[in-house]
């Protein structure tokens, strides 16, 4: 028994065309840039936006109005009813489904206890912190016993400090949930921590899917490469060399043939003021396009054939005294370059 959705939504010039499979207990993250259709997909699953077909546990949800679908939704800004207490918010879904008042309140109190908010049962949403409101929203969504849990950017509204804690909490609750979970996020860290599987959406289509580890190791689009912090190129391999589509030739450790992706981390690139002697492979001239300071490293954007991101240490930065426009030599270790064939959904 599982969830299978074929989501087709056409609105103005935007077209969503996404097939989605979710196993029971599985958490799937829809990851993508703004406007990729993530939230539209979520709304289509909930029935808030018409379009496509959804089958859950063998039952077709097509034509089922929102309120008859066994879904729980955690909205981006939670949408807790401001005129009700936390307890009444959580009890609302049970009351709407015909549970008697006393029983609904007792069940809601149990849920608030599970998310650690028993002490705030009588608080109005206005009086709750962001993290607390998120947990009430989760309790409200889960209290009705949904088969499908939908979370829209569940951590986006939280500040960085709260976020780590709430993310861990949320991960625990998702682990205990036996239904299907689809969460939408544009934050790769949230997706990697919370999800069993990532589905990457761009312009209304699935461009890549896989486990977080697979996606992080073998990105197939520039967007994913940027998310996971890798240099990514497309090219044609002939044995140990890859001729890149955008210009340039790289020597790789794993021989391959045909169209391939080439990916390597920025830390695999070293920069030198002069062409290093005795290292003829994977050395090419570059010019500095920009320098960004990260926590412990400096990321240098370089133009050349190919253009490349390089992470250098602060010491190297001091030695090279980089300014935009400076001419340098980039050297890449072949052993850190990963090549994999261009295949699959929209990968080419």
């Amino acid at each position: 028994m599982s969830l299978r959705a074929e989501l087709r939504v056409v609105r103005d010039r935007f077209r969503l065309d996404v097939d989605l499979d979710v196993a029971p207990g599985e958490v799937v993250a829809l990851l993508g840039p703004n406007g990729a259709g993530k939230t539209t997909a979520l709304r289509a699953l909930a029935g808030l936006t018409p379009g496509g077909r959804v089958r859950v546990d063998g039952a077709a949800w097509d034509g089922l109005p929102v309120r008859r679908r066994p879904v729980g939704v955690v909205f981006q800004d939670y949408l807790l009813f401001p005129t009700m207490s936390a307890l009444e918010n959580v009890a609302f879904g049970l009351r709407a489904r015909g549970v008697r008042r006393a029983a609904a309140r007792a069940e809601a109190a149990r849920w608030l206890e599970r998310v650690g908010l028993a002490a705030h049962a009588e608080s109005r949403p206005r009086a709750l912190s962001g993290g607390q409101a998120q947990r009430v929203a989760l309790a409200r969504a889960l209290a009705t016993g949904p088969r499908l849990l939908l979370l829209d950017e569940p951590l986006a509204a939280l500040d960085a400090g709260t976020r780590v804690h709430v993310r861990a909490e949320l991960s625990r609750h998702l682990g205990e949930f036996t239904g299907h979970t689809v969460l939408v996020t544009h934050d790769p860290l949230d997706a990697m921590v919370l999800a069993d599987r990532l589905v990457i959406l761009e312009r209304g289509r699935v461009v890549q899917e896989g486990t977080p580890a697979e996606v992080a190791r073998t990105p197939r689009t520039d967007y994913v490469a940027h998310l996971v912090g890798l240099n990514l190129y497309r090219g044609v391999a002939e044995g140990g060399t890859v001729r890149l589509d955008g210009g340039g030739v790289l020597t790789v450790a794993e021989p391959a043939d045909g169209p391939v992706h080439v990916a390597f981390p920025p830390a695999a690139v070293s920069l030198f003021p002069q062409a290093p002697a005795g290292s003829p492979r994977n050395t090419w001239p570059v010019t500095v396009a920009g320098v960004e300071q990260h926590a412990h490293t400096t990321r240098v954007r370089l133009d050349g054939a190919p253009p490349v991101l390089a992470d250098i240490t602060t010491a190297t930065l001091a030695d090279l005294r980089l300014r935009p426009g400076d001419a340098l030599w980039a050297v890449l270790k072949a052993t850190e370059v990963r090549t994999y064939p261009i295949t699959g959904a929209g990968g080419g």
Binding site: A46, L48, P65, V66, R67, R68, R69, V71, G72, V73, F75, L79, F81, P82, T83, M84, F92, G93, A96, R97, R140, A141, T144
Partner: protein, 261 residues
């Protein structure tokens, strides 16, 4: 600063202010303060005041029962020709009340389109009764309520209603528990405006319900009536209406300021 304000604007502005305020001051100056308490508690004033309060409150209740759903339909129901509907709802705002009274007579009068059936089937006759006063006041005052509530509904975030739907709530439950509480300040403001308008209603009332002391003579009608026979009584009644108006204005102001803060 004052030099920046041209006299050609300031003089008419001051004249306008005086034009609005001086008549009210006149009421206060000419009021028979010495015999005011006795007048206020006289049967004549008491009857008119009681009738006015009862009728305006009943009219407001009627407007709430009919007007809030109407506002919801205009704001949320996907009905065709919504612009036209909204225009129709606001007609009583600009219609001379006496025309409203005539229209009500034509429809609800004893030989009216609907009135003749009311008379024949239920033995109910509205014109020239206290119920007729309520009907006339509600007709004139309802647009105030509908417009206020519709505005509040349109300003309310419809995503809360979507959230309620995902929790399994029917539209009626959603309206009762989610939508209505969120627009409560707008409903209260609309009801107060509606009540104030109903309290001051004259034209439609005297046309449709006539002027029968104790039965249809509300405060404004009593003022008009007393002006010829007993001007002091007219002033006292007017003072009471002025006081109520100022009270309504102050009450609404507090609510709006409180709501914004």
């Amino acid at each position: 600063m004052i030099r920046d304000r041209p006299l050609v604007l300031v003089l008419p502005a001051l004249a306008g202010l005086a034009f609005l305020v001086v008549p009210l001051l006149g009421l206060l100056v000419r009021a028979p303060w010495a015999e005011l308490p006795a007048r206020l508690f006289s049967a004549e004033v008491g009857n008119a005041l009681r009738l006015s309060l009862v009728c305006a409150s009943l009219a407001t209740a009627l407007c709430l029962v009919l007007g809030v759903p109407l506002a919801w339909l205009l704001a949320r129901g996907d009905v065709p020709g919504r612009g036209l509907l909204r225009a129709l709802v606001t007609v009583p705002l600009v219609l001379p009340p006496v025309v409203g009274g005539v229209a009500l007579l034509l429809v609800l009068g004893r030989r009216g389109l609907v009135g003749q059936h009311l008379e024949a089937w239920f033995g109910v006759s509205l014109p020239f009764t206290t119920a007729g006063v309520v009907v006339a006041e509600a007709f004139v005052a309802m647009p105030f309520l509908v417009i206020a509530v519709e505005g509040a509904l349109r300003a309310a975030d419809p995503r809360y209603e979507e959230a309620a739907a995902t929790l399994g709530a029917s539209r009626w439950l959603t309206f009762r528990r989610v939508t209505l509480p969120s627009v409560a300040p707008g409903v209260v403001a609309g009801a107060v405006l509606c009540w104030a308008r109903a309290l001051g209603e004259f034209g439609a009332t005297i046309t449709f319900a006539g002027n029968f002391p104790g039965e249809t003579t509300t405060m404004p009608l009593a003022v008009y009536l007393a002006l010829e026979t007993d001007p002091d009584a007219a002033i006292v009644l007017s003072l009471v209406l002025l006081l109520v108006s100022v009270g309504v204005l102050a009450g609404l102001r507090d609510r709006w300021v409180g709501g914004a803060g």
